[in-house]
Symmetry: C2
Subunit: 362 residues, 2 copies
């Protein structure tokens, strides 16, 4: 079977089988340096997620799964019961890193269930360990395949000559590779469509300027950088045909948590009649949530009163507020592109159908 | 007569009578350094405006007026005709600095008319020079008095306990002193109202983070810094009661050119039913323009792919776009606060009335 990961042009994370370690690109250092880090310690994976060396909901999910695999491989457990205890602790630590991305909890739960299932059929620690590693790898490969499927479905919505605005980085660097929103753009480009991209810089951590621009320039895609507050103006000037963004969590009724600033882009797109698309795997959907009550991570104020900790931009002693995500209501979302197809309003019907959930009655 | 400028807590520019020179605070260096510069050369004033050592529509207008005064004082002209030639050249140079702020053209025109008028009544160069300097000083003192009047009118719209969001810096540092939007906040605070402020950082040049926060902290006003893309979220959380911003140019039918990002804030305010106020002196109104066709300055892309030229944030070779202003349509503007009073929709009637223009028929 072909290793689908070998088709990736940007490969931000993987499991090194020879050395039984997890490897990732430290995205905090882009675009200045391309530094790959590795570890055999799941706590280090948790720190990489918390500190945003690894970021993007799908990448967080996949990395957490590999964190569980490392916890299993290096647990030192003598019995399966002991191993499950260690895995439960690892799950707790990894789950506490970032509260908004649903893929994190989804991936941890999935690996955990596989461990419990394996443990129920064997008393050999090594067999449970291998089951956990296999599950993590399945999540990894699935993510790449799903991104490519999202790309194919999404590219059908994109026309030759379109200029697409994207926010933050929902690219290869936010996933196991290929990307969700940028997967749609990649697929459209692979189909020979001429596409231009406007990338918002995405303060405070500048994932648009640092990561999206880096990824797209690497592949020769025509990309123009703007600040977040220019979106309304470029839309008013007719410069944008479509918006495609990723998501960190989507409720069953279509509320979308995504990087702070997404909501204002959706408002401006709505005003100017520009389609606003969200691209995300189904693992981003939280089947237990309805309405705008998604937990929103607040990060350290220093991210706001500095630029990446490298340049202070406000007086000493300034107060700052730093919500990392916002929530876009369903009425502003034209369609959601998943690996299983594209869903459109009314989401209260289309999302449960997509997820195979019984539709809830009003 | 009391020198009204002596009442200013932040005094960003003035004419030094003893040394016959113009003095200004280089706002590019705030909040790191508080550096005052001075010159006797109008070309240096033009450069200070173009490079944004001096910025903010009213400050630009006042500084250009003093630029004309310097051109007159140091012209070396032997005849009134020669002096007018020199002044015409200075007017051209000063007008070419920044295309959007209407106060610039208004102030230049006003000083020029005074020079022509004086020249028609005398053949003494020194008399025309003194008339020009007197006119520049009148514009300076008027600006301070007008800001205080804007503050008084605006403060009536502000309630005790309000949290006010402002964008960019429409403060003392954008005027001869006191400020327009921040003048409203200052006046409300002086009335004993408890006011909190949210300041957007205002990329690319960070006038919010650097200048508004600096001004307000200096006076002990409770200010919280956010990035531009957080506005929608904080509004959705009910954290903002009112928006007050400045303006660079307002058309007779109520289109408002202001710092890039203003339009997206107005859209979000509209969505959440939050009053959106514009505070500006009547010299900001362009009696010759209707509709959204205000000329918008595009500045160097390096302002976008760096932070203040101090930190590069995107890969080498990146393309960037840098419009410095955007246009907020009248239907998003709750009221415009001027030194002559507050105008409300329909602006197509209220603005011509305010300006004493004959209302145009539709």
């Amino acid at each position: 079977m072909e290793d689908i990961a070998s088709r990736l042009k940007v490969k931000p994370l993987w499991f090194d089988d020879a050395e039984r370690k997890f490897v990732w690109l430290d995205t905090r250092l882009l675009p200045w340096e391309e530094v790959y880090r590795s570890t055999t310690d799941y706590r280090r994976v948790a720190r990489a997620i918390k500190d945003m060396e690894i970021r993007g909901a799908p990448a967080i999910g996949v990395s957490a799964a590999f964190g569980m695999a490392l916890a299993a491989i290096y647990s030192g457990a003598g019995t399966v019961e002991e191993l499950l205890k260690k895995l439960e602790e690892a799950k707790r630590v990894l789950a506490s890193t970032r509260p908004t991305a649903y893929n994190l909890f989804w991936a941890l739960e999935r690996v955990w269930r596989r461990a419990v299932e394996a443990a129920s059929g064997t008393s050999k620690v090594s067999e449970v360990v291998e089951a956990v590693l296999a599950e993590a790898k399945e999540i990894y490969y699935e993510d790449i395949r799903q991104n490519m499927a999202i790309g194919r479905y999404g590219a059908e919505l994109i026309e030759d000559g379109d200029t697409i605005l994207t926010h933050c980085n929902a690219g290869a660097l936010a996933t196991a590779g290929y990307g969700t929103a940028l997967g749609v753009i990649r697929a459209a480009v692979e189909q020979g469509k001429r596409i231009k991209v406007f990338a918002t810089e995405t303060r405070p951590l500048l994932q648009g300027a640092r990561l999206t621009v880096w990824e797209l320039m690497k592949e020769g895609v025509d990309v123009t950088l703007i600040t977040d507050n220019m979106v309304g103006y470029v839309m008013s000037k007719g410069m944008i045909d479509k918006v495609v963004v990723g998501a960190d969590r989507i409720t069953v009724d279509g509320y979308v948590a995504n990087k702070i600033g997404t909501y204002m882009i959706a408002l401006a797109a709505n005003r100017h009649g520009i389609p606003f698309y969200v691209a995300a795997p189904t693992s981003t959907f939280d089947p237990n949530l309805r309405g705008p009550s998604i937990p929103i991570e607040e990060r350290d104020p220093s991210e706001v009163y500095t630029v990446l900790g490298r340049l202070r931009i406000a007086p000493e002693g300034v107060k700052a507020y730093n919500p990392a995500f916002d929530i876009t209501p369903p009425e502003l979302v034209t369609a959601i592109i998943t690996e299983k197809g594209v869903v459109t309003p009314p989401y209260v019907e289309s999302i449960p159908r997509l997820l195979g959930l019984g539709a809830r009655r009003g």
